[in-house]
């Protein structure tokens, strides 16, 4: 089967990867333009983009892309990211990242940390999109709603931004061999055995991957 090629396993399909990168790209772009809009010290970013006014519109446009990507990602990953009882144990042990553990429950497709990231992104993503929409035309809303939207937008950015950094680390140098999942879509079998053993087993049995 072409799925098993040179001892690698196809872990993502192209649609997933496109959605991921749309989400990540728009998020990153929003993050940087947002920082540029929020901090005068980051003025170089809007300057590169043709000024604050242009940056404002790019931020809004990118936010729209983010919103659609997020919606698609949610539909796509929500089942894989549904929590299960073992996740608690995984979290209790810090996923084995912080101290040595032997007792990690075997992960299906995504570990509890990834799920947590997903749900944070979904929740705060929804918040950031909604508050962003309100901020796009705050005059159409009661003033209290408009005011709190700004605070919520910033808070959501803070949360998503911070998780983004973690995600970036763990998806790249923190976990060698992971990055390919979102480039070629193929990871080594060994990687799969480490990170998603139950899924791999299911997959090998030919049962439907979900």
């Amino acid at each position: 089967m072409s799925d098993t090629l040179q001892n690698t396993v196809r872990v993502t399909d192209p649609i997933e990867r496109i959605a991921h990168w749309l989400l990540a790209g728009s998020c990153l772009f929003c993050l940087f333009t947002g920082l540029g809009l929020m901090f005068h010290t980051w003025d170089f970013i809007p300057a590169l983009l043709g000024g604050l006014y242009a940056a404002k519109w790019m931020h809004i446009f990118s936010g729209v892309v983010f919103a659609f990507a997020l919606a698609y990602a949610f539909v796509m990953w929500k089942k894989d990211c549904a929590f299960e009882p073992d996740d608690a144990r995984w979290i209790a042990q810090g996923g084995g990242y912080l101290w040595k553990t032997d007792n990690l429950p075997p992960v299906y497709k995504y570990n509890a940390g990834q799920k947590l990231f997903f749900w944070f992104v979904v929740v705060f993503g929804v918040l950031i999109v909604l508050s962003g929409m309100i901020m796009w035309n705050p005059l159409a809303f009661p003033v209290a709603v408009a005011r709190w939207s700004y605070a919520l937008h910033a808070l959501s950015a803070l949360v998503i931004g911070s998780f983004f950094v973690v995600h970036l680390y763990l998806g790249t140098i923190g976990n060698p061999g992971t990055f390919q999942a979102m480039t070629t879509g193929r990871c080594s079998r060994a990687w799969c055995e480490t990170h998603c053993p139950r899924w791999l087993a299911d997959r090998d049995k030919g049962s439907p991957t979900t």
Binding site: Y97, P138, A190
Partner: protein
């Protein structure tokens, strides 16, 4: 440069609502007029607009004793020291001038409208066509030239005066004495002191659209004093921790049976 703070004092007990100020403002600032309708009040336009930076509010009011009064209040930018609009303005279009007033540079404004909702006095107004926000700048160019703002110059009755902050606060309280204490000085006790102050004949709560205890909204303080710095601090901290993790724990290696990858 030594900063001299100026305060415009609006003595509502002298205002006749002739609206000279309302027009003088438009004349000097070259703001057009829009078609309005009579909605059953002299107050027109009904509210501040992008082209109307100052507005006389007309209010018929009877106190507990049934004494009837027609209240006039000149509404417009209060020029806060602790100015929510400046706090939230991303572009630097809103700024504190050397007079302590809040200036606005429309060239910088990107039309984000953050100031519109942040303002505790509901003053800045957005123009859909130009995508800019407008409000009173207390005639910054006139002040710089030592001239009174257009509204103050036009005021027939001395209801509008301008001077240094200290002098005007003193004047305000002197006037209060003259009124046998039948009035309220409004503006010196919140948001760090405003650069527009009122002498009101009634309790502030009586007046339409006048906040009794105006302050920078909690949402703005949370946003700007907490979330904003923590966005960088948070991301920086997380990045730092990741780096530490990498250094201490190293990458999370996979037990490999075979070489993978391309």
């Amino acid at each position: 440069m030594k900063k001299t703070e100026y305060v415009k004092l609006i003595d509502t007990t002298k205002c006749t609502a002739c609206r000279g100020c309302q027009v003088a403002c438009k004349q000097w600032n070259e703001m057009p007029a829009l078609r309005t309708r009579n909605l059953g009040s002299y107050q027109n336009p009904p509210d501040l607009q992008w082209n109307t930076w100052t507005l006389i509010r007309f209010q018929e009011y009877a106190n507990k004793n049934g004494d009837f009064k027609w209240l006039f209040r000149k509404d417009g930018c209060m020029h806060c020291t602790d100015a929510a609009c400046i706090k939230v303005c991303p572009s630097g279009a809103l700024y504190h001038t050397e007079f302590g007033t809040v200036g606005i540079n429309q060239k910088l404004c990107i039309g984000c409208k953050a100031c519109v909702s942040a303002c505790p006095f509901d003053v800045p107004r957005f123009n859909q066509e130009t995508e800019k926000v407008y409000k009173c700048d207390l005639c910054y160019d006139r002040l710089k030239d030592g001239q009174q703002p257009a509204c103050v110059l036009s005021c027939p009755t001395g209801a509008l005066t301008i001077g240094t902050k200290e002098a005007m606060i003193e004047t305000a309280y002197q006037r209060l004495d003259q009124l046998d204490g039948k009035g309220v000085v409004y503006g010196d006790k919140f948001v760090g002191g405003t650069h527009v102050m009122y002498i009101l004949s009634e309790d502030p709560a009586v007046y339409d659209k006048l906040p009794v205890k105006p302050r920078v909204p909690a949402s703005v303080i949370l946003w700007k004093n907490l979330f904003k710095p923590f966005t960088l601090i948070g991301m920086g901290a997380v990045a730092g921790m990741a780096a530490l993790h990498y250094l201490i724990k190293g990458p999370h290696e996979v037990h490999e049976n075979k070489e993978g990858g391309e």
